[in-house]
Symmetry: C2
């Protein structure tokens, strides 16, 4: 099957465009792609005419070229006829937005079986039905929400595949946009009658140049396909993340009603994911932290080797005692530990800082340089820590509210880390006026988080990434 | 001791104003209050003259009136002389920003003992030393960070008391400002040589009209004062929240070095707090959720009685299956449960929604009205759920990305809840364009959170609040 036609089409046609209702899904998809995206798009309406000043064709036959993909947003009963036309005209891909298939039971189940039959017989890559489609910037966007209602994430390295359309556009799109996690392609798989998560893992892992990390929101694996999925994940060169919803009893009941699927035993599932080198976040925050870190570290210019955090031994550098305490408290929850410094090391660090800070700083771990610290003190201590072999990663808590820290601190830390090559994860409060500092760090691809907990999660992710990297290397 | 002089002074004097360094703490405090706050402020410098165009006095004697509070930001050695002058001139309150006391050991310990002696002999309310002071909008702000470097929370019902200055201005001020939690007064207690957390609990609980909720960041109780603190908390009519930092082994070590205090056994502490009707959040997110909820529900116009969530029985209302699943998964983690609906109730709810949604919605718990839901469907179901007695609280997951939901949805839910009086907690994504919906809900004092987890935490907080309310009522 030609999955590329779904995600990297040159031409696209849309059926199900209402002339009366500007908010009908088909019309939103058509108009949005026509005015906002790069794909060449054709609208089809049996009567022809126009919507919003754009001409419509009356049927597929009339189109100037055979499109790579047909988006179907007509009522369920009319869908199969269009799928058959895909076969007739050799359209390789088809995205079915329409609901009214297996999820409603009865006749819907039969309709879905027929759909699978046509797809299989004619080798058509069908996404859906009952899905919200594909977002593949800057090419196409079949998410049928009005542009003014949603936010869209930037371009990046993460292929994002979701069994829930709502979770995709809200939990992912909004937050990806807010904390700037970039996607290569985002896919809503709906009922996954034909194209399922395993095929997509295969495709994005082996055949999509832009993808480096593949993230899934699933409520259950497609029956009989979990084994293939796990094997593919284990062998993939990309980082694979699977976030499962519906693992609690109530959650399970809910997923049964809205996706007609069963999730397996939680513990077995957890073990299987771990064994097959898949990262499983347990909270949404963990998922976002993972993806933020992976996306930043997938860029070409790497400030450090992310696969060197074998044991999770951390140094914490702060200019506020309380922040250091909160950070130290969190390490244990994430399987990390603070390195102990010898008296000699502590004395050596003390000699590196300005006279005022020198007399009041503490060099245990967390290191607290106090509100008297200057930019160069942070630089000097980061460089010193980078040379201690048992320090695998440094968490720098940047608090640019004291006047002795300048707004060049981001650039200066970035320069220091780029030279020292030691993994560094930064925390900086999420405030617009600190944006310049965050930007300077992110330009050098140094991971920046906006809560202490996320910074700690980020380091635990580096540890996990190192484990998976080593396991994959030893098996190959 | 006259604590009011520290938090509600009419006049204030500042010593330690540098003429050379515009970023010296004393000068920042003087200039900030002079230009930005309501308190009448006098600057003192032995040479007189002016800074930034504002005249300075040469000594306390020269001031036109005896100030209510003296802010001391001179080097440690010079502090005691000024404290003695407070005694001489009957200045009732004193805020000592300067470090160089017990926290540095040796002579610092002796200096602090002398300070306590003078304060006790002369009944002076001394805050600090080694603190960053008081923020009491719109009256005074002795936080010595430049205004352009920090953010400040709005005015509200929460008295905020922190043992760490850094945590106060970063973790609290920034986040309070971001999610709009209002403070009555924020206090950094530093070494708490004289004024300590127990005295502040007493003061804010009994003598401050503006405070309804009292939140603490502590790394340990002041030795020998924990018993008083707990007893006062138990009897207080306000909600008391204590967030402890430094409970892990590494955290403990760190707090010893930066505050010279010991935290007790974690389990004993936890039990003591619970028994004395104090809320103890275990993560920063939980703390913020608690305070947001308490601040909103402290306002005069209450949309519902917050003390009715006895068992934590919840109904989840969503228009996205995946969101409902994630929410249901989270309930268990927070000691809550989803109410089961009878077949009859489910059928009755189905009859209430529009024909398209009717055919595809599911009315288990979570209720999923699907992307076809309209504003009036949400109103109808909220009203229906409000009449089911065993539903103690409704979580409404508002996802205004579907075109069939209008931007009036906030106002409409607010109206419905104001009539039905059932506790409701809303989730809405944190996106500027949804601000109008959030505003409409918050104007009616309905709690709104920006992640599903926070909404669930919010309900668990209502359950906790109900428990504490009932216990306090039965003891009085």
């Amino acid at each position: 099957m030609n999955l590329q036609s779904l995600f990297r089409p040159k031409t696209m046609a849309v059926v199900g465009i209402s002339k009366k209702n500007p908010l009908s899904p088909g019309r939103i998809i058509f108009i949005k792609n026509y005015f906002e995206m790069q794909v060449e798009v054709f609208g089809i309406h049996p009567e022809g005419g126009e919507v919003e000043g754009v001409n419509l064709f009356t049927k597929i036959e009339e189109l100037p070229k055979v499109p790579d993909v047909l988006v179907i947003a007509v009522p369920a009963k009319a869908t199969l006829d269009y799928v058959e036309q895909c076969a007739d005209y050799k359209i390789p891909g088809c995205i079915i937005i329409s609901g009214g298939f297996a999820e409603i039971g009865g006749e819907g189940v039969k309709r879905q079986q027929k759909l699978i039959q046509i797809a299989t017989d004619n080798d058509i890559a069908i996404l859906g039905p009952n899905c919200i489609g594909v977002y593949s910037p800057p090419l196409l966007d079949t998410i049928f929400m009005p542009t003014e209602r949603i936010t869209r994430p930037p371009k990046g390295s993460v292929a994002l595949i979701s069994q829930s359309g709502g979770v995709l556009v809200d939990q992912f799109f909004h937050k990806f946009n807010q904390i700037k996690i970039g996607v290569s392609t985002a896919v809503s798989i709906g009922n996954r009658a034909v194209v399922d998560e395993t095929m997509l893992l295969d495709y994005f892992s082996k055949r999509d140049e832009e993808t480096r990390n593949i993230a899934f929101y699933l409520e259950a694996f497609k029956p009989s396909k979990s084994r293939d999925f796990l094997q593919l994940a284990r062998k993939s060169e990309d980082d694979i993340i699977v976030y499962f919803g519906g693992l609690s009893d109530k959650g399970k009941k809910a997923t049964q009603s809205h996706t007609a699927s069963l999730s397996g035993n939680e513990k077995i599932l957890q073990a299987a994911l771990k064994q097959n080198l898949i990262t499983q976040p347990f909270t949404e925050l963990e998922l976002l932290t993972d993806l933020k870190l992976l996306d930043v570290l997938s860029r070409k210019k790497k400030p450090f080797d992310p696969n060197t955090v074998n044991n999770g031994n951390v140094a914490i550098l702060s200019i506020s005692g309380g922040h250091g305490v909160i950070c130290a408290d969190l390490l244990k929850n994430y399987g990390l530990r603070a390195v102990d410094f010898t008296q000699e090391e502590q004395q050596e660090m003390r000699e590196l800082v300005n006279p005022v800070a020198k007399s009041i700083s503490t060099f245990g771990n967390p290191i607290d340089l106090t509100g008297s610290a200057k930019d160069e003190d942070l630089e000097a201590i980061i460089t010193y820590l980078s040379n201690i072999k048992r320090v695998e990663c440094i968490i720098v808590l940047i608090l640019p509210y004291t006047p002795s820290i300048s707004f060049q601190i981001g650039r200066r830390i970035a320069n220091t880390v780029t030279i020292s090559k030691k993994p560094v994860v930064c925390f900086i409060p999420y405030i617009p006026k600190y944006g310049a500092i965050t930007e300077a760090l992110e330009l050098s691809n140094i991971p920046v988080f906006h809560s202490i907990e996320e910074a700690v999660q980020g380091v635990s992710m580096l540890k996990q990434k190192t484990r998976i990297f080593n396991a994959k290397r030893s098996q190959s």
